[in-house]
Symmetry: none
Subunit: 413 residues, 2 copies
Amino acid sequence: MNAEIIAVGSELLLGQIVNSNAQFISKNLADIGVNVFYHTVVGDNEKRLASAVQTAASRSNLLIFTGGLGPTKDDLTKETIARVFNKELVHDEDSLKYIIHYFAQTNRQMTENNKKQALIIKDATVFPNENGMAPGMAFMNDGIVCLLLPGPPSEMKPMFQKYAMPFLLTKMDVQTRLYTRVLKFFGIGESILETKLQDLIDKQTNPTIAPLASEHEVTIRLTAAHKDKEIAMKLLDGAESEIVKRTSSYFYGYAEDTLEKQAMDSLLKSNATVASAESLTGGLFGSILTDLPGSSAVFKGSIIAYSNELKQKLLNVPDSLIKEHGVVSEECAEWMANHIKILAKTDYGISFTGVAGPDQQEEKPVGTVFVGIAGPLETKVFSLKLAGTRKSIREKTVKHGFYLLNQLVKEGQ
Amino acid sequence: MNAEIIAVGSELLLGQIVNSNAQFISKNLADIGVNVFYHTVVGDNEKRLASAVQTAASRSNLLIFTGGLGPTKDDLTKETIARVFNKELVHDEDSLKYIIHYFAQTNRQMTENNKKQALIIKDATVFPNENGMAPGMAFMNDGIVCLLLPGPPSEMKPMFQKYAMPFLLTKMDVQTRLYTRVLKFFGIGESILETKLQDLIDKQTNPTIAPLASEHEVTIRLTAAHKDKEIAMKLLDGAESEIVKRTSSYFYGYAEDTLEKQAMDSLLKSNATVASAESLTGGLFGSILTDLPGSSAVFKGSIIAYSNELKQKLLNVPDSLIKEHGVVSEECAEWMANHIKILAKTDYGISFTGVAGPDQQEEKPVGTVFVGIAGPLETKVFSLKLAGTRKSIREKTVKHGFYLLNQLVKEGQ
């Protein structure tokens, strides 16, 4: 199967957004061994879109379209493709019901043009849109597989993984397949990790080993190619164990794992609870933890004491402590962690105090951060020196918090 | 001039990197009034690249290539274009000297294939590469302007601005330029907004009016074309005032504005402070507000009372209130907003309580949300019915919070 990814949208040609959909789809197709030969971007213009469809159909046999499925007159993808391939458009009952329900639920008025979103190519396989209104779809035409997906990445990505990937796998000749495994590391830079593994990266070809830095973490993608799944898994296992042997303290999990999920799972396993006392992070720890469904079983709450006044009033930090050590100090982090644990009657209390910038504070440089963790037996404070922008210092601080909390909870098990 | 941007590189088709070059070039071309009709991405494959060059030459008269100018065998852009257009490749003396000097300066050994980087299309205008080794170039062929630029954005972007833009301006009739303005709306769906403006969207051609949904908001892009900047600005002003007249309560700002920044600015202007009491949002309000440098002047802190126990203990929510109305109630939101305002001694207290899902709570459906705002004179509670995932309900809740807080602070001014 030779694929072409066609994004439809004038906002791309005006440079207002970047075509991240093409990257996402390409990466997923590479993982299942589908060659992508072209990306095309075309505007909301019927004539040029029709010509792009024809060009694509003449050189590729898997066409994946993103965008142009919205309710407005600008949105022409379905209509144009139907015309080029001589197909009929019909209303999909389930999608129409879903749209009507969505408007009813949100007390909003449905307009006539919203119904247009429920139109599908006749006999197409419908991909439900769980994060928006426009359904996706797939159909065959003269040996060419066509997929139509919505443009907003928040709608397209989950639909692609849940519905489009399984659909594509049923259409493929299965010979050699690619199997990937993603290993995740925290607390180590990409280049140091790569140096530790350079000889493996150079000599290993099956699986290949590809490090990638992302969001204050490093991931390594292992890709094994084999027609037999079991053998591919063994190849992956072998590479993984060699890599983990060399990098053990930094390795923390696989693709779907996150530091916050692991901390939550450890707390659940210990039947333990946590509360936080946040200063420089301003609620980011609580916010990320409570993004996880089920977090109410482990998280009781938090005090965000952004001002010194509230540190004293809500967390009882003694005046003498602040005068002697300042609020950006090991002593203050320790106090905050202990106090929130007692106040919220939890098993663990975690605290964050530090300087996110842009200005220094108490003559301590930007990036000075203390994380305190009060556990059932003792309280530990970790001193960090972080680099980056205000935003990245706050994000890294919280990642360290989840990482350290997970370690300490696991040690107590 | 109708442009097509052709990126050459298999790493793009494998999804390893995103095509940010196309976005950058498109944005710059839009600013000087050049229409971009297509983006194409093709791999490091001579046959498919040649075919992409031919297709582009048949439909566009400005072809801008990025990538494939490096020293390795994979790098085929110049060679393939020269072949398709029947041009000769020659060594550019200045570029060769520069490369030799670069290697000497960095104490690295120069290999024979590095000389390949100094090859240019005969008689092309050379664009020096001040951030790498491969020069860019421009030439004409049968009325088609071709630009070849390096792939790494750190080399391409400065070269484009310093050399390619001035080159293009000499080739253009500088007549019409495009001027854009982005209007931002909150609390209204894309299709209702469009319905309100349909006649304008249909009949207005200068400026054009394009709505776009993004991250729980809607933006409208106005694009005016005129050779005279002042007249273009007047055209934009006219369209803006007509749009705002019809949608006034939803319009909140321009491209760089965000709801949180506006709320912070209103508080600063009123010399007022705020503290929050968060339940379903788990700290998201505080976290977004404290992402802004300078927020410490307006934000004192927050109590995240995720468990009912902490709502009672830290926010003193009376047992009787919870028994009678539940924690997901107007009454609880009002109490929380009032109490945090008193506790933190701020001018405003804002509270969030509701059901983010996935499960309902107190027999109230997912998406039931109450936002309380206690101000200097009175306390108001807003009842919302939100749809979406847990994550999007939490995000929308906080956006509503910033929007409402901004409105109330401005009303008090």
